[in-house]
């Protein structure tokens, strides 16, 4: 198996360990206000980081291209409360349209 496959299986095992820890870890460890706050803050920060990485970076460079248009289009779709799958499609269509019209790389 490739190195990637091992990391992948390890991440799957870690995901299950986290899920089941909620059922077994002593309550005082997890049920602190701080723990819930850290988990919620971490989730928001990681997702925002992933949005940024996928929208404006390529390797170690910051790049403005059609993906920033996809980000704007997806934001508009979300403001109008579009379902998740529609938001994803709007993102793809915006990128394709911007490239087809030569407005962005």
């Amino acid at each position: 198996m490739s190195e990637l496959s091992w990391w992948l299986l390890g991440a799957c095992a870690a995901a299950f360990a986290l899920k089941i820890s909620g059922y077994f870890v002593p309550r005082r460890v997890l049920d602190s206000p701080l723990m819930s706050h850290v988990a919620a803050t971490l989730t928001v920060a990681l997702l925002a980081s992933l949005v940024t990485m996928n929208a404006v970076t390529s390797g170690q460079e910051l790049i403005i291209d059609a993906r920033i248009g996809a980000l704007a289009a997806a934001t508009i779709a979300l403001i109008f409360k579009a379902p998740y799958l529609v938001v994803v499609l709007v993102g793809a269509l915006a990128a394709v349209a911007l490239r087809a019209t030569g407005l962005a790389a």
Binding site: G22, V44, M53, N54, V87, A92
Partner: protein
């Protein structure tokens, strides 16, 4: 549990089924984006069957498609899974499951099953909501991941199909429902800025970990006045019944 076989279509099961359908369908986008990120069919299918927590799965492939190392993908996915530990604790308190069922319940303890369950009024409805949403999402998410992966294999160049734009939208769609007050909006903006500054300065995959470190530090410094996830009174009751 339902009293007769005829009334299985309760508010909880209806909600669970509609959430399962909506969530399951976007397994298509995960499958296609995973192939575009360079994973093969079996790695893609394994992520949905074994990891089974959408945010972490998207994070894993998102770090890889950005050129990050497999170890960075592991770290990002695992950190995003921390919230499932909090969900498990809430479900344990709410449903008081038998220990035999816990390993199965743990695998389907995700955003959707937790939200569906905790939104119900009675204990039997909370059970039905958890299992309908959990198993429903599991089946459909895996099915549509396979469909998306098979489509992705035939698509060729990801950018030609706008899949890079779809990935941006996919992450924004996961983030959006969590931006309900000023503090998460601030955290999201700060995280975006930290990431953008870290990208040119560090190896791919590291910026997201720097951002995670900053987020934990910020949460610890601001987290003194928030409420616990569960109510201690009820939990003590649960403990007494178990012992």
């Amino acid at each position: 549990m339902p009293s007769t076989k005829n009334n299985w279509l309760t508010p909880a099961t209806k909600m669970g089924l509609s959430i399962a359908l909506a969530t399951g369908l976007y397994g298509i986008s995960f499958g296609a984006l995973s192939i575009a990120a360079g994973l093969n069919l079996w790695q893609t299918v394994a992520l949905s069957a074994l990891m089974f927590t959408g945010g972490s799965q998207f994070a894993f492939i998102g770090v890889l498609s950005g050129g990050g190392a497999a170890s960075a993908a592991f770290s990002a996915a695992t950190l995003l899974g921390v919230r499932n530990a909090v969900y498990g604790m809430q479900i344990k308190q709410s449903l008081r499951p038998s220990p035999r069922l816990v390993p199965f319940m743990a695998q389907v303890t995700i955003d959707e099953s937790t939200a569906t369950s905790l939104g119900q009024a009675s204990l039997s409805e909370r059970h039905l909501g958890f299992w309908t949403a959990g198993l429903g999402v599991y089946v459909l998410w895996n099915l549509f991941t396979l469909v998306g992966a098979l489509l992705g294999e035939r698509m060729g160049d990801p950018a030609a199909w706008g899949l890079d734009g779809a990935a941006v939208a996919a992450f924004l769609g996961l983030l959006w429902p969590r931006l309900k007050s000023a503090q998460p909006v601030f955290v999201a903006c700060a995280a975006a800025i930290v990431t953008a500054f870290a990208v040119p300065l560090t190896v791919p995959g590291v910026p997201i970990l720097i951002t995670a470190g900053c987020a934990v530090l910020f949460a610890v410094l601001t987290g003194r006045h928030t409420k616990p996830a569960t109510e201690h009174g009820q939990l003590q009751q649960v403990d007494q019944e178990k012992t």
